[in-house]
């Protein structure tokens, strides 16, 4: 009996050791980035090992005031505009698509599901050149809502998780409502929509963060400095501007991190429910 308890203590101790190591591994680079953003000198070469030798708010001030070459506030609002726009449109389209795919049986349903699966296997930016040509034809280069259009148009392809979620809502409620004379539109808006908060949160969050941190598409379509998103802008910084990069990163990572922490419960629920059947 005694030996058993000793093993248990050892087990607990070991578990906590691993947990502390894991926490350190995940936290350390973040801490490094945050501290670097408060460094007084700005260049990575003047650091003392991992951490800057003196701290100040100067970099953050510079980020928002010194906008001649690197117009961070402008980039920030471009990113916000694109991410918010595509979040609203994508969520709307994805949820509706997933709902119909889950609840309706029509002749084109299976073929459409197969087609989206096949389309999903093509490498994502194989079609970039074609998209670029298409956008020049439509005159949407250097237009922020051209990007929104592309993000929103592609979003319904990732409807599977959401469909899985709707599959788990029992259809018996729908039947009852139908007998009472509700139309399919009413069944969706009055019954299923209020039940699907977790999956809406999940969809909104993923479709917001994707444009928020995407790099390739904005780089391809937004050629002028004033239209840059934060990702493209930060990547155009040189190695000597490390503190500015860190400050800019921290500033756009903070809202996302907060969102994740507030919504993580909904997200995990949505993800797990959706994927079980997905």
């Amino acid at each position: 009996m005694k030996k058993f308890r000793f093993g248990k203590i050892l087990d607990t101790g070991l578990t906590y050791c691993i947990l502390i190591a894991v926490a350190f591994i995940f936290f350390f680079p973040c801490l490094w980035l945050i501290l670097a953003s408060f460094s007084a000198s700005g260049s990575i070469y003047s650091f003392d090992g991992f951490f800057p030798s003196s701290f100040s708010f100067a970099t953050f001030e510079k980020l928002f005031t010194d906008t001649a070459l690197y117009n961070y506030p402008k980039w920030f609002f471009n990113t916000l505009y694109i991410a918010a726009g595509s979040c609203v449109l994508s969520t709307f389209l994805t949820i509706l698509t997933a709902y119909t795919m889950s609840r309706f049986t029509f002749r084109m349903r299976k073929p459409m599901m197969k087609i989206t699966m096949v389309l999903g296997m093509f490498p994502s930016f194989m079609s970039m050149t074609a998209v670029y040509l298409l956008m020049t034809q439509f005159g949407l280069i250097n237009q922020r809502w051209g990007l929104i259009l592309i993000y929103a148009a592609g979003a319904p392809m990732g409807y599977l998780t959401q469909k899985g979620f709707f599959d788990t809502i029992p259809g018996a409620i729908d039947e009852a409502a139908k007998i009472d004379g509700a139309t399919n539109l009413q069944i969706f808006t009055k019954i299923n929509l209020p039940l699907s908060k977790p999956i809406i949160v999940y969809t909104a969050l993923t479709s917001f963060t994707w444009p928020w941190s995407d790099f390739i598409l904005p780089k391809l379509l937004l050629k002028e400095r004033d239209f840059y998103t934060v990702a493209v802008g930060l990547m155009s910084l040189g190695e000597t501007e490390f503190a500015r990069f860190a400050a800019g990163s921290v500033f756009i990572a903070v809202p996302i991190v907060l969102l994740y922490f507030f919504l993580v419960k909904d997200m995990v629920n949505g993800m797990a429910a959706g994927a079980v059947k997905g």
């Binding site: 894991v22 936290f27 490094w32 090992g49 309706f104 093509f122 194989m126 050149t129 040509l133 539109l185």
Partner: protein, 439 residues
Amino acid sequence: MKEKGKRFADCVRRSSWKVRLSAVVMGGGQFLYGRYFKGLLYFLTEIMILTYFILRGGADIAGFFTLGTVKGDAWLGTKGDNSVIMMLMGIFAWIVIGVWIILYIANLKDVWRSQRLEEAGRPQPKFREELSQLLDRKFYVTVLALPVIGVCVFNILPIVFMILIAFTNYGGTVVPPELVDWVGFSNFSKLVTLSQFAPTFFRILGWNLLWAAASTALNYFAGLGLALLLNKDCVKGKAFWRAFPILAYAIPGFITLVAFKFMFSYGGPINQIITSSGGTAIGFLGLDAKWTARLIGLLVNCWISVPSIMLLATGYLSNRDMSLYEAARIDGASPFQQFRKLTLPFMLFSTMPVLLGQFIGNFNNFGIFYFLRGGLYVDGYFLASDTDLLINWLYNLSIDNNYYCIGAAISLVIFLITSVLSLSVYVKSPSYREEDTYQ
């Protein structure tokens, strides 16, 4: 199929002249049955499509085959054909033809229904009723119209375009105003035989497969392990411990990658520590750092992907049937045996689709080496480095260096590999073969 043909023949034989009118002029039959609005709608669509084909669609279809015949010449001032735009608009014209055929069939079915209604002595449907059906019985038509159009224009059209590009000589010096031509499969044979492409192609392919397998396995087991660890009864304050991986998960990927690039760079903190303690700086991600760079890529990818797998696995673990574990404990199974015989099969079964998605995602993981070692060209590789995956090579070739047709051919190879692999794995997987084991 035979049944269908018989029914079709029956329709043709028994159809009234009104139905036959609709076969010639879309909407004509509906008009004569007293469904003026619907008839008019069909008629107007036909007029619109025909106008499109007379004005430009016909020429676009022709252009699709020829890809331009007149070469532009700045000296003579002739405005030549732009082959690429011609191909794009040609594909668009094909899509319009497809839509037309669908509408035409819908039109015939509609008017045939009208005839049968009349024969049965029932009233024709009112236009208003049919419209309100769009919010009820045919709700799905209304809802799916927008996504389908979007996917057609921004996904299917570009993908079809690139597939076709793989069979032309577009790229290199052959860009508009030069004329592009169809060349059949020669791009693919170039890829595997030409000394310019072939060695690079096979080296990158080998590394790409190794990378996908290694990183998927590593991420999966690390994520599962972490989830199991956090799930243990002895761990107090689970939310606190879980916060660290979530933090890593929430930070945008490009920030993480660039930060790690700085961390391992020549002037970065790790090298500073090494130099200050008397060593010489190591080029972790430098030109000749083949395996260290690969290893760093693997670990950094782990840092980025493990949290999401952990979250997912946590969700699944709570769905386990705990009575099985109770039984196993009574039978004297050790924790490791429980893991091997109960947890692992269950997790593999339920996360098989996720695992497949992870594998394909890692196979096409563009970001990792683009941000860690982007823009590096190494000896022995044609416009690529020794850590680049096929997708990075594709990017270097087609977006940075204008080798469009070779890039398109590589995309098709990637597509072939991922689809064949995932299909065969999926068919062999337990979640496909014994669907109700865990239900």
